[in-house]
């Protein structure tokens, strides 16, 4: 790999590892300093490697430089005496040499602990996602802004406020105790779920970036399944859900970056390997008697990977949406349930149910009614698609809707 590609690659893989370790060492109040130290390390790498060539072991080079910078910071700064835990001080006391532990085990532990610290209910979900992308996924501020379709200043402000709140509330960077984990993991899973969806349903045209969001969400969820304390059924269910969705990556976007709807996808492009992995995690999720919303959603996603339009498939999907809605209402689940109902009981029955949903303000509601009316009443179908087109915010959606209207007018 050339230096030009190597540094961004290492940034993606190593920034998060070193940052997590330093955050844990410095404490929650010094996240920004940890980020800056690692950022400086990469700047120095770019300068030095440009002049002297790439070192034999580039990652190790980064670790050494980051360690030195961290030690310098701790020595210079009073936080060493005031904030750093006594154990660290003790182990470092004798030789006055501070241990910055960048072993794989400590990197892994630090990342898991940071995950729990960042997914803190006291800060809003979009800040949790932003901080996760920055600290746990090595995203640059520009990339985060791009993913959220906003600008750098907004993201910087958002992350700043979140870090201040973590500091104020003295959030500890540690693994929650056994009994606490079940509660805390819910917030972590919600954030990972949102992070994945942010990528999967993003309106951003940067398809490489949005796919990266999904892959990062999967990587972090996978990390949770690898640790015995966090390897819970609902974690496996969420990972199964992600695998099933991700299996359609290649099939759902055409070469112009436009969305291809589920019914129109080329099944041969579905990733069989990911479907198989999803099935494996779904089996692992079946332990215990808790049925979380992730279990239900994963089961729905599983049926979507199966052969199309068998009667059994849609009956199962309808049943699962019924149960999902009983656990937790969401407009999207209500709309999807009605679609499944149409597949089982026909469009007319589904139209009656759809019109009770009270979601007139949603473009997806009008798309659904447009679809249901398409074979029943063409004029009404066109009216709903037109309403949908007015309500949607993205041009990708408008394109899809326009094609549907054109087809009806033929």
């Amino acid at each position: 790999m050339q230096e030009k590609e190597l540094i961004p690659y290492l940034y993606r893989t190593e920034f998060r590892k070193i940052t997590a370790v330093l955050c844990r060492l410095f404490g929650i109040e010094h996240i920004t300093i940890a980020e800056d130290i690692v950022g400086d390390t990469f700047l120095l790498a770019a300068e030095t490697w440009g002049l002297k060539g790439i070192p034999a072991n580039p990652a190790a080079w980064l670790y050494v430089v980051a360690k030195n910078k961290a030690r310098d910071f701790l020595k210079r700064n009073t936080i060493f005496n005031e904030k750093v835990s006594p154990e660290v001080q003790y182990s470092a006391g004798e030789s006055h040499e501070i241990e910055v532990d960048l072993s794989p085990t400590n990197i892994n532990d630090s990342q898991l602990q940071m995950m729990f610290a960042i997914c803190y209910p006291g800060i809003p979900p979009e800040s949790q996602i932003g901080l996760s992308l920055r600290i746990l996924c090595s995203f640059s501020i520009d990339e985060i802004a791009d993913a959220f379709l906003t600008n750098k200043e907004t993201i910087n402000k958002r992350l700043y406020r979140a870090k201040e709140k973590l500091k104020q509330d003295k959030v500890k960077i540690e693994m929650p105790s056994g009994s606490e984990i079940s509660d805390r993991i819910e917030t972590v899973l919600t954030t990972l779920y949102l992070l994945f969806n942010e990528g999967y349903y993003s309106a951003s045209r940067n398809t490489v970036l949005t796919k990266d969001l999904c892959l990062e969400a999967m990587r972090l969820t996978h990390m949770l399944t690898e640790n015995k304390n966090t390897d819970k059924p609902e974690v496996n269910a969420l990972l199964a859900l992600m695998c099933f969705h991700a299996s359609r990556f290649e099939a759902r976007i055409d070469k112009n970056g436009e969305l291809i709807l589920y019914e129109d996808q080329d099944i041969s492009l579905w990733n069989k390997e990911l479907i198989k992995q999803g099935e494996c995690y779904l089996n692992r999720a079946a332990k215990g008697d808790l049925i979380s919303r992730y279990h239900l959603e994963a089961a729905i996603a599983y049926w979507h990977t199966a052969e199309r339009d068998s009667p059994e498939k849609w009956e199962k999907v309808l049943s699962l949406y019924n149960r999902l809605l009983m656990v937790e209402y969401s407009p999207i689940a209500a709309l999807n349930r009605t679609y499944a109902l149409a597949k089982v009981y026909g469009n007319k029955a589904a139209i009656i149910e759809a019109e009770k949903l009270g979601l007139d303000h949603s473009h997806l509601y009008h798309i659904l009614l447009g679809e249901l009316y398409a074979t029943v009443d063409t004029q009404k179908a066109i009216r709903h698609f037109t309403a949908a087109s007015k309500l949607t915010k993205t041009s990708a959606d408008r394109n899809v809707i326009r094609k549907k209207i054109d087809k009806l007018k033929k």
């Binding site: 009956e315 309808l318 019924n322 809605l325 009983m326 209500a334 009770k356």
Partner: protein, 115 residues
């Protein structure tokens, strides 16, 4: 919006089918009915289904077998919904699957109790 409880009554149920995990098998009819109300975001809690085992306790240390109070009908379960009015809830109850099985639904408004 107010909350209402629906109490489902019918004659003693036959053998209750259980899944391997010990949960009651819910019929497609029931699931679709409740799912339809949940899809309108009007379900507060699916509540619970009640089994056939029961005792009735009366003053004077009188305990009788069976869940019946006086009549043959028993309460089979209850759920909580939110609705603008009892009339709205009544409309839903008219399509409740228990009616097809000869049972009935009672709707009651819920009074919040302080503390």
């Amino acid at each position: 919006m107010k909350e209402f409880v629906m109490v489902y009554r019918s004659e003693l149920m036959g053998e209750i089918k259980l899944t391997a995990e010990g949960n009651m098998v819910v019929s497609k009819e029931w699931e679709n009915w409740m799912g339809g109300i949940a899809a309108q975001n009007k379900l507060v809690s699916p509540g619970m289904r009640l089994g056939n085992e029961g005792r009735v306790i009366k003053p004077g240390n009188v305990v009788t077998n069976g869940p019946y109070a006086e009549i043959k009908e028993i309460i089979g379960g209850l759920s909580i919904f939110k609705a603008d009015s009892i009339e709205e809830a009544t409309e839903w109850a008219k399509t409740c699957p228990i009616l097809n099985a000869g049972g009935n639904v009672e709707i009651r408004d819920i009074i919040q109790v302080n503390g």
